[in-house]
Amino acid sequence: MLKQTEIRLTGSGGQGLILGGIILAEAAIMEGNNAVQSQSYGPEARGGASKAEVIISNKEIDFPKVVKADIMLSLTQVALDKYADTIKEDGILVVDSSLDVPSDLKAKKVVSIPILNTAKEVIGKSMVANIVALGAIRQLSDIVSKESLEEAVLSRVPKGTEELNKRALQEGYNLVK
């Protein structure tokens, strides 16, 4: 049976969303699934609206882009407003708690959690917000196991930041309980 999850990570350039997508896809591959990761971004290196997409499937993946997402993450208001209508009606939206979720947004579940603040204040590094978000997404959806996700994170982050990133994952798990 086809089991396919389509994920869209949105925010601004520089938030590490593409890396987040890569890590999710790599975790999925470790578990023997297929995964395709793609992205779209503007010509600027920082800022702008950035999105990374991941499709995880137990079958061959033809079309590599996400049309309607099963899971969507938004870390900026601009990105949320831009992509709000691209969530499936039975999909899950994960947003940073600083954002205003449009009242007419249709999704099965909206999870508003302090991702940016947790990274900045609890861990002390804003740059791990993407990893906190991955932890939260995993906890909500079970798309990959904790073990695979941790292995994928550790194989991608710079040397010397392993403990920091493990903490970021843990804080992400804790945000969804």
Binding site: I29, V36, S38, S40, P43, I61, D62, F63, P64
Partner: protein, 379 residues
């Protein structure tokens, strides 16, 4: 059997470099441009480790010129670019064609014209790949649809360039270049590698001399000790300029015949669910992925759809498309431009079946739903 093949997530542009290295690339000359930059970046990192050379030049023109020089010196050479850079490379592409210099030119297509949409996909350079440089000339262009195929197509591009002493264009696009997919890199020993034929040491070497039915002259490397003159002017077998129309005709015939008499060797394509197809979606590169998905959707709705996907874009799979047109009701060409390959299809089919087109050039991909709904509309 145990396999030491490694499964990993890889980007299309990275697979291009891996394929190039597996094929024996030892020289890269170029100038970075989105969305091809990773090809330069990764080549810069990896070439020195295998004793190769990477050089970033002052612009795209110099990039291809350096690659031509590297190839003349005996190394397998590549350059990569996108839209505006591909325009700049046209003059030297023609130079490589007439001077018969093996060369791989990668064009990761983005939205145009001009600097256009730097980060958005397009397939608007198909005709440019064939006609962008002036004059009649041979060209091979290949278009991969996946990360794994980018690896294979790049190996093939080098093989064809070496075998036929001609430039080969890889026409990929931003989607295939930037997406990451699960890929298993084949074992080096399982990959067929073709090297250019070199002249023997003792003969009187003619760099453009062939004997009998031979189409591809052996190629000496600069520095090997052979006398070797290279020019963009029409030349005789010594490589020195000749204005004789008789010679020009002979040389151009041979240049074109390198391709035209080896179509079976050069042309590759994929057929999907064509046996009982009434409507065939003809597509290539990343758009073919949408086409395949659309075929599956249409089949689920009881519509006999199929897909024909040229992997070799130039020379175009003319014979295959002609045969297809004799047995299907309709061909729908899907491409990220406002109508390029569809012109080729119309020329070939000559009204034997209905032809429709779905094209987009706004920086967005064509979705499977759009193709499926167009197919239903025209059936």
């Amino acid at each position: 059997m145990m396999s030491n093949k490694k499964v990993r997530l890889m980007q299309g542009n990275e697979a291009c470099v891996e394929g190039a290295l597996a094929a024996g690339m030892r020289f890269y000359g170029g100038y970075p441009i989105t969305p091809s930059t990773e090809i330069a970046e990764i080549s810069a990192e990896k070439l020195p480790r295998v004793g190769g050379k990477f050089i970033q030049m002052e612009d795209e023109i110099a990039g291809i010129a350096a690659a031509i020089g590297g190839s003349l010196a005996g190394l397998k050479a590549m350059t990569a670019t996108s839209g505006p850079g591909f325009s700049l490379k046209q003059e030297n592409l023609g130079y490589a064609a007439i001077a018969e210099i093996p060369l791989v030119v990668v064009n990761v297509q983005r939205g145009g014209p001009s600097t256009g949409l730097p980060t958005a996909p397009a397939q608007g350079d198909v005709m440019q790949a064939k006609w962008g440089t002036h004059g009649d000339h041979p060209i091979i262009a290949l278009s991969p649809s996946s990360v794994r195929e980018t690896f294979d197509v790049t190996v093939r591009a080098f093989n064809l360039a070496e075998k036929y002493r001609t430039p080969v264009v890889i026409l990929t696009d931003e989607v295939v270049g930037h997406m990451r997919e699960k890929i298993e890199i084949p074992d080096v020993n399982d990959i067929e590698i073709i090297d250019r034929v070199k002249p023997s040491d003792d003969d009187n070497y003619l760099p453009y001399g062939v004997t009998g039915d031979e189409l591809v002259p052996p190629m000496a490397a600069f520095g090997d000790g052979h006398r070797f003159h290279v020019t963009g002017l029409m030349h005789d077998e010594t490589g020195f300029p000749s204005n004789s129309s008789e010679n020009a005709e002979k040389v151009l015939d041979r240049l074109m015949n390198k391709i035209n008499k080896n179509l079976d060797d050069i042309i590759e394509y994929e057929e999907y669910m064509l046996d009982d197809a009434q409507i065939v979606i003809l597509s290539y590169g990343s758009t073919a992925r949408s086409a395949k998905s659309a075929v599956k959707q249409l089949r689920e709705q009881g519509i006999n759809a199929g897909m024909f996907r040229p992997i070799t874009i130039w020379p175009f799979p003319e014979e295959q498309v002609r045969k297809l047109s004799e047995k299907v009701k309709s061909i729908l060409v899907a491409e990220m431009n406002l109508g390029q390959v569809v012109l080729e299809v119309e020329r070939i089919v000559k009204g034997k079946c209905e032809i429709n087109h779905i094209g987009k050039a706004n920086g967005e991909v064509i979705t499977p739903e759009e193709i499926a709904s167009k197919a239903k509309e025209v059936l």
